[in-house]
């Protein structure tokens, strides 16, 4: 991989706690190429959102950061406030989960869209307005001129998220971080946002770092994915391969815990145990206490090793997981349905 847009090497982030610093992110390596959509999957508390905050220099006071983050050839760690300002918005921009609190309720969309364009790109009022209209068209907001004068509450959740994306794109960033941008939305609206992000990637050569706990969303959008657990990368590789033939027991467990959607009926399998609390991860493999394949060797932290080109795995046991999760789409044709299942009452409501 040459000319990486983003290259994170051995990133460690510790937040101050009552009993000293608590390491939340513990040695993460992550790369994003220009125009690539990269996914980060993990449960809450796995450090995926903190990674995003680190990339924007938005860490809480007292946080200790170690390692290296190179963005477009520039080192970001050790940036002062002024240097961060030149990265945020025009280099790396972010879309948050909750668009209703990410937008200011008392300012019009126009004000929020043009504000930093005028400051960063130094556009005059008219040029900024013109670009704002183009952006709204690009994210497919109907009647952009009217939308500029409207307030966030006048839009639906999906529309607000589109506006948030337009704002993030205003200063032509090279990397967009999307932190669970569709979690609060209906599936139909989510489908629209995913299609939009993919379109923007193609049209603008925009790289996207997509953070989500929904593996289905990752599978449909991200070219490569990283699976996070307790602030470490468990497994990474091309999304389609990682999610259909996972190498790590944690990825496999995550897949089994989700409703499989079409073609699969069976009980949801919860992962045994509870996610490790931040900073209290055990020595060795953090997933070991919950893992079905745990061995003595797991007491030593497994290194992230390459198993095949483009695939990395942090598991020394590396059990054969073939067949432990069935994602194949079963035959759903009518022939499979028994007669009993088909006998719907002629009036499912009125019957007593």
């Amino acid at each position: 991989m040459t000319d990486l847009l983003l290259d994170i090497k051995d990133l460690t982030v510790a937040l101050p706690g009552p009993n000293g610093d608590v390491p939340i992110i513990r040695g993460v390596d992550l790369q994003v190429a220009p125009g690539e959509i990269v996914g980060i999957a993990g449960e809450s508390g796995s450090g995926k959102s903190l990674t995003a905050q680190t990339l924007l220099g938005l860490l809480p006071a007292g946080a200790k950061v170690d390692g290296s983050i190179t963005f477009a050839g520039r080192e970001l760690i050790g940036n002062n406030d002024k240097a961060w300002r030149s990265v945020r918005g025009s280099g790396i921009a972010m879309v948050f989960q909750d668009s209703s609190s990410a937008l200011h309720p008392m300012l019009t969309v126009g004000v929020q869209l043009t504000e930093h364009m005028r400051a960063v790109l130094r556009l005059d009022r008219r040029a900024a307005r013109q670009r704002a209209i183009e952006l709204l068209e690009q994210v497919r907001i109907p009647h952009p001129e009217k939308a500029l004068k409207s307030y966030p509450h006048q839009f639906s959740g999906g529309m607000r998220q589109r506006i948030a994306i337009a704002i993030a794109l205003a200063c032509k960033p090279k990397l967009l971080i999307a932190d669970e941008p569709t979690t609060a939305l209906d599936v139909t609206v989510q489908a629209g946002i995913l299609a939009l992000l993919d379109q923007l990637r193609r049209d603008n050569d925009l790289a996207v770092l997509f953070i989500t706990h929904d593996l289905g969303v990752l599978a449909s959008l991200a070219q490569r994915s990283y699976v996070f657990y307790a602030g470490q990368v468990m497994e990474s590789g091309p999304t389609g391969v990682v999610l259909t033939a996972p190498n790590h027991p944690y990825t496999s467990a995550l897949l089994n815990a989700r409703p499989h959607g079409l073609g699969h009926t069976g009980t949801l399998k919860a992962i045994k145990g509870i996610p490790v609390a931040a900073g209290s991860a055990p020595v060795g493999c953090p997933f070991a206490p919950r893992c079905d394949y745990v061995q003595d060797i797991c007491l030593v932290r497994p290194p992230l090793v390459m198993t095949s080109p483009g695939r990395l795995l942090a598991c020394v046991v590396a059990p054969d997981l073939t067949g432990s999760h069935d994602l194949s789409v079963a035959d759903l044709s009518g022939a499979e349905l028994s007669g009993a299942e088909l006998s719907v009452s002629p009036n499912p409501g009125g019957e007593r």
Binding site: E43, S44, R140, P142, S156, G157, G158, M159, R162, D186, V187, T188, V189, Q190, A191, G192, L194, A195, L196, Q199, H213, L215, G216, A219, S220, L221, Q223, G240, V241, L243, T244, A257, R258, P259, H260, G261, L262, H264, T265, G266, L268, K269, A270, I271, I274, L327, V329, L332, S333, G334, E336, L337, E341, V344, N347, P348, G349, G350, E351, R352
Partner: protein, 330 residues
Amino acid sequence: MLSMDNVRLDYRSSSRGLVKAVDGVNLSVEAGEVVGLVGESGCGKSSLARVAAGLTAPTSGQVTFNGAPVTALKWRRRPAEQTRLQMVFQDPYGSLNPRRTIESQLSDGIPADVTSRTGRVAELLERVGMPADAGTRYPHQFSGGQRQRLAIARALAADPTMIIADEPVTALDASAQAQVVSLLVKLVRELNVGMLFISHDLALVHEIADRTAVMYLGRIVESAPTRHLMGQPAHPYSQALIGAIPQISTVQQLPTVLLGEVPDAANAPTGCHFRPRCIYATDVCLTAPVLRPVNGAMVACHHAEGITGFSDPAQAPVTAHVHAHKEDSK
């Protein structure tokens, strides 16, 4: 068991006018059966749940539970037989009293003729997989998933024969979701209670419901055995909902995008509500379709016969690409 007969619920709001939240719904749930109700936000799912549980009085139509009408009684005491209809709410943070111990809250629901109340509390906690000492603790000492299990224990305290679960796992993490859903399904099977499971997550409903009803703007547009609905959805809206579920496969594929947005319920399109977003719509759709049997499902679509089914979800027919033009209704 639980039956809703032509239930309507109208809200009147000064800014939006008349909102038909529930617009003539027929739905029944039998003992030991899980009925899923899916739809996007704003389609009237939660309004329907409240009417079904007797928390809101319907504008017209009737809800009956074991043959007796369910009435919204506000603060007055309910007849004992109606307490066997229980509800689990979406937000386990709001539905438990933060200032009372779990035991005291669980005891509330236990029928008066049960002699060993502490014994019953322990039994309930065990049933939902919580440690016995949970009774002496307060809600804030538990995680979201645990709280939802406690909320389920409280619903079970009254020995229900019917549970209405309104988005019970939406607020939870994926792994906690799996736990709570498995628990609910296990209870339905073991105790032979009926359950109306309301969710916006079609994949989840597919996993657990015997029968699924799809709701759009206050009306049920399709109702069928779940496998049938997922395999051969007849209504264009059901097809679009299923097509929008992201799939995991080796070949990367974006979910199918449905045209437009859900219209304001106060300003619903005439005729078939789905008409402006439907690629099959013709003039006949200007009159509202009624639910009728089509190939083993109940479908409210004039064109259902012509467009029924795709057994391969990848070939969902609604291929229109994103083009979010709102209906110019204002």
